[in-house]
Amino acid sequence: MKQIRVAIADDHTLVRVGLARLLSSYPAIKVVGTAKDGAAAIELAKDKQPAVFLLDMAMPQLNGLAAIPYVKAVSPDTHILVLSMYDEAEYVQAALEKGAAGLVSKTISADDLYAAIVSVAQGKCLSAEKPLTAREREVVALLADGKTNDQIGSSLGISTKTVGHHCQRAMEKLDIHTRAGLVAYAVRIGLNRKN
């Protein structure tokens, strides 16, 4: 049987070593190396040319998303799977746009991670959910800045009712049920920082 050669980058040693140990227990996987930041990940990719690279999203030096094009440049056949604390559609979209084959949340089980690795090793991509529209993002960003629907409406030149509509749509897409939940989402993905 041909093993899938996997590399892992995560700045938290306990997580990195734990993941390596977990994945090594699958006979179909061979862990060929680990790295503790984005820069080391690029070196490792160049050196080992792994079939699949697990890149943690939040790493010092160069975060997981930023490292994707560099890893692809030094090892074009490597399929990249981004590991994240969160699995919001925004992140999935960003990872795919950078050239990753997918993004998985650390809340999944080892068996699910294994299935994802096998899948991307075969050249498949893990699909993104529906991302928010530009207007929905604007509304949610202003909401997170503490604006009322009235204030959001006048600053965007749309009616208060339309603002409510955008909030509702965003909540449905994200499966969020309160305004506070929407605010927390916006802060987490950095929407409220004026981008």
């Binding site: 070593v17 734990g18 140990r21 227990s25 650390k106 809340t107 997170a144 969020i176 506070a180």
Partner: protein, 211 residues
């Protein structure tokens, strides 16, 4: 040496499974796992392990508040925090709720095992670089129940869900909410979420903040 029984609280399945795999080769035995603070308190109460290894940012009830409850329901269980945060504020809070140890996720597995052994043997174990003067914590003005409610609000829970999770009446939850807003002097959902974030009840870090 006797086996040390540990219950593990972390919302990331991959991290829990990884830690379990790392401890598997030692005499430390993970007897229970929980993915949120409330499940953790139940497990610790039932299993009364020597050690509870707890991530600080846990959903439904964060690690600090969970440790506070554990000190009541399972006073013999010693709490060790396992966290990515090198944050003196958290260390201060950890000590206030009676934690015995504090391990960073960037440490090597050997350090985790040493900390668990040290604590199981009745000695405290905090990283020396994070010791020192305590840090004043904002949000002291809220009571424990109010902090629980505020975390759940910031996690996007509706009042009726909060009532169910906390096993309280809807009326009580609404009262807590009103008290929180008055004590903090805030009026909007955005301000409530921000307050919860500043108090460390939830961690809302935007992508790329670490780089």
């Amino acid at each position: 040496m006797n086996r040390i029984r540990v219950v593990l609280g972390d919302d990331h399945n991959l991290v829990r499974q990884g830690i379990r795999a790392l401890l598997g080769l030692s005499h430390i035995c993970v007897v229970g796992e929980a993915k949120d603070g409330r499940e953790l308190v139940r497990q610790v109460k039932e299993l009364t392990p020597e050690v509870a290894l707890i991530d600080i940012s846990l959903p439904l009830l964060n690690g600090i508040e969970a440790a506070r409850k554990i000190s009541h329901v399972a006073p013999k269980t010693r709490v060790i925090f396992l966290t990515m945060y090198q944050d003196r504020g958290y260390v201060t809070q950890a000590q206030e709720v009676g934690a015995w140890g504090y391990v960073l996720k960037e440490e090597a597995p050997e350090q985790l095992i040493t900390t668990i052994e040290t604590v199981a043997n009745g000695r405290h174990c905090f990283p020396s670089e994070l010791a020192g003067e305590t840090v004043r914590i904002e949000g002291k003005k809220l009571g424990p129940r109010e902090r629980e409610v505020l975390q759940l609000i910031a996690e996007g829970k509706k009042n009726k869900d909060i009532a169910r999770i906390m096993i309280r009446s809807l009326h009580t939850v609404r009262n807590h909410r009103a008290h929180i807003m008055r004590k903090l002097g805030v009026h909007t959902a955005a301000e409530l979420v921000q307050a919860a974030n500043e108090m460390g009840l939830v961690r809302l870090e935007a992508l790329g903040d670490k780089s």
